[in-house]
Structure formats: structure tokens, C-alpha cells
């Protein structure tokens, strides 16, 4: 008698809103596969939307086959196809959405458009088992402090201009640091060898931060700013947990500084490793799994991508 898998829900997630293209498969909280490719530009150059879309276009079907093979699954085993609806760069978002829509129809499976930021949050919650943390979401494209309340991921504070990762990436470009594996990683390695702290403009306005005026910064200053606004949100919500998600969350110095603040408050710090804090397909699958299980589906006519998509626009039907 074969084991019944009636209770199990398998979701495949497609992510490609920036320079990473990832496709991941999740079955009831287990990551079955999560292959990913990164479009790396030469030192001194950032990545442009049409080139990034071309990169994703060239590899996406290969990555999809890998995701299925590594999970040991056939399309019939999938229950739902999740993809990133936004936010992000238009051309790469469209490239990925086209494949997701097509396979959803070929395989006869429902489609789910996922908010990229919520993908990060749900993956962080799954991996770390944090209960109801204040979330710091920091990446090349986004910088937000988020707390859950009454069916919304509320944005407590955010950057008033550019994302902290964008600031780090632009700095890396100016001094021509390699983009392999990522500019942020290479800044971190170089920063470890530094010993001189240089005082730079420190710009916090209440719950928000500004990074555009200080492109010649050092990690200490920007990370301190992020720790401050996270602490302020925690105080406001009476929260005893912090979860860091997004590519910049890989940075050990940021985790260390946040850890000091948490220890002082008797709070717990949660973070994931580079597999899950950097953009990946499984995080879209995980958010899709939550959404699908709570009864959400995206009709094809409504499956258009969008470059702007705020975290608090989504009704969080899967939490109380």
C-alpha cells in the first residue's frame, strides 16, 4: 500500500526580479531543490534590465529542469506554480512570469503571483522558526523594517531614497571591486581587514533612513543606522525577536551588530545563510505554499508583473 500524499502540498517557485534567477520546490516546509544562477557583470558595472532579462532567458529552462530533477519530481507531482509578481526590474520579471504562466497551463496547475519581499519573510520564518519577529529586510533593491499586524506586513520604516545594498553596490563599482560572487560579499571581506573608522554622515529620520548622501561610506555607519531603526520598531511593537532577510542579511558584521543590540534588550536574533537570504526560487515557493493553502490563486488575466509592489499591499490571509 503506497503512502498517501493527500495532505502534502508541493509548490514550485520562480524568482528572477534582479540578477539572480532561481527556481525552487517546497513540499510542506521541506526544500526539495533550489537551484540558482547569478548574472555577474565586470567590476565597475552594474546590471541593466535588458541584459539581465537576456541572461535569465538563456538559462531559465535549464534551471527549471534541474529543479525538477534534483527534487526527483515530475510536473504531475506539483500542486501549484508560484512566481514573483513584483517588485523588481520589469524585463527580467516578465521573462520569468512567461515561463511560469506557460508551465502552469501546460501542467494544468493553479498559478500564484507572490510579492518578492513576502517571499523573503516567509522563507526566514520557515528556516528560523522565529515566532513573530520584527523583520529587517535589506537587499540591493529594498530596505524596510516590517512587523506583522492584523493581516498585513506593515512597513514601519524604510529607506527614503536608495536601498542599503544599492549603496554598497554603487560604492563597490566606484572602487572597482569584483562583482563575483557579489559586490557586498567582497566589501565585507575587505572591511574585515580594516581598522580605521572614519566618521561619515549618519542619517536617521525617525523610523526612516537615507543612504544617497553618503556613497563613500563604511559598513559600520550604514549598519548602525539599520540597527537603530530596527530597535525603534521593536520598542514600538514590544517585540522580542528580530529576523534579518535579504541579500545584505548575509553580512556577518550586520548580524553581529544587530546581535549586540538584541542581547542588550534580551531579544533573540534570527538570520538565514546565503542559500536563503539571497534571492532564490524556494522562497517564492514557500510564500506561494502559504498563500495557496489559505485559498489564494492568481487568474492568468491578473498575473501581470509590476515593478512597484509594496509589502503592505498584500492581504496576509495565512496568519491570524
Amino acid at each position: 500500500m503506497s503512502r498517501s500524499s493527500a495532505a502534502m502540498t508541493v509548490v514550485i517557485g520562480f524568482e528572477g526580479s534582479a540578477n539572480k534567477i532561481g527556481i525552487g520546490i517546497i513540499r510542506d516546509g521541506e526544500v526539495l531543490s533550489n537551484p540558482r544562477r547569478t548574472y555577474i557583470t565586470p567590476p565597475g558595472q552594474g546590471f541593466m534590465p535588458s541584459d539581465t532579462a537576456r541572461h535569465h532567458r538563456a538559462v531559465i529552462l535549464t534551471v527549471l529542469k534541474e529543479a525538477l530533477e534534483q527534487a526527483g519530481l515530475k510536473p504531475a507531482d506539483i500542486d501549484c506554480v508560484a512566481y514573483t509578481k513584483g517588485p523588481g526590474m520589469g524585463a527580467p520579471l516578465v521573462t520569468v512570469a512567461l515561463v511560469a504562466r506557460t508551465v502552469a497551463q501546460l501542467w494544468g496547475k493553479p498559478l500564484l503571483g507572490v510579492n518578492h519581499c513576502i517571499g523573503h519573510i516567509e522563507m526566514g520564518r520557515l528556516i528560523t522558526k522565529a515566532n513573530n519577529p520584527t523583520v529587517l529586510y535589506v537587499s540591493g533593491g529594498n530596505t524596510q523594517v516590517i512587523a506583522y499586524s492584523e493581516r498585513r506586513y506593515r512597513i514601519f520604516g524604510e529607506t527614503i531614497d536608495i536601498a542599503v545594498g544599492n549603496c554598497l553596490d554603487r560604492f563597490a563599482r566606484v572602487i572597482k571591486i569584483s562583482n563575483d560572487p557579489s559586490p557586498g560579499y567582497n566589501i565585507e571581506q575587505m572591511a574585515k581587514k580594516g581598522s580605521q573608522y572614519v566618521e561619515l554622515p549618519y542619517t536617521v529620520k525617525g523610523m526612516d533612513v537615507s543612504f544617497s548622501g553618503i556613497l563613500s561610506y563604511i559598513e559600520e555607519t550604514v549598519f548602525s543606522m539599520l540597527v537603530e531603526i530596527t530597535e525603534r520598531a521593536m520598542a514600538h511593537c514590544g517585540s522580542q525577536e528580530v529576523l534579518i532577510v535579504g541579500g545584505v542579511g548575509c553580512n556577518l558584521r550586520l548580524q553581529e551588530m544587530m546581535g549586540v543590540m538584541c542581547q542588550e534588550r534580551g531579544a533573540k536574533l534570527f538570520a538565514t545563510d546565503e542559500r536563503f537570504c539571497i534571492d532564490n526560487g524556494a522562497m517564492i515557493a514557500q510564500a506561494g505554499w502559504e498563500m495557496f493553502r489559505s485559498g489564494q490563486v492568481t487568474e492568468l488575466e491578473d498575473s501581470w508583473i509590476t515593478q512597484r509592489y509594496r509589502t503592505d499591499e498584500v492581504e496576509v490571509t495565512w496568519r491570524d
Partner: protein, 98 residues
Amino acid sequence: MSTDGETDHKTGKLEFSLDVPFPSSSEASIALRSLSPDREPRRGGISKRLTVTGNTLSVRWSADEARILRVSVNSFLDHLSLVLETMETFGPPVDSGI
């Protein structure tokens, strides 16, 4: 595929049409539903309409300038080729009766 471009002298707009044959009408519909949801990146000066008749996907553009038309048609053909390659790799559709 057949295409033709001409200027509609009444409205002054450039009209461009494209017909893509598929092995079945269900596959033509799949392509239509994958390619139609996203809006044109450039809001003004270009519009397109996708329809399916029998086994054929038809696309009709209306544009103010040739330059804008070229960008949209170019982009559409790239997207179409991705959808076709996806259908070749992961098709045929499940309820195709095969």
C-alpha cells in the same frame, strides 16, 4: 508566420499584424494567456491586441511611430520565442488527449 505593416491613413497610425500557427487551438490559447497579461512598458503611443482564431494566434499593433513599433514587436517576438521553447520542452498540455 505572416506579417504586414502599413499606415492607416485615416487615423495616421501604423498598423502591424502577426499570425502564429500552433498545432492546436488549445496551444494557441495557452500562448495567448501567457503573453497577454503584461502591459506595454511604454504607456503612450502603442497598443496591441492578441486573439486566437482556430489554431492561430493573431497579434495586431497600432503605433504612433515606427521606432516605438519596432521596440514593441521586437520585444514580443523575444517573448513569443521563449513561450514556444517552453511549450516544446515541457509540452504537450496535459489534457491534450495524448
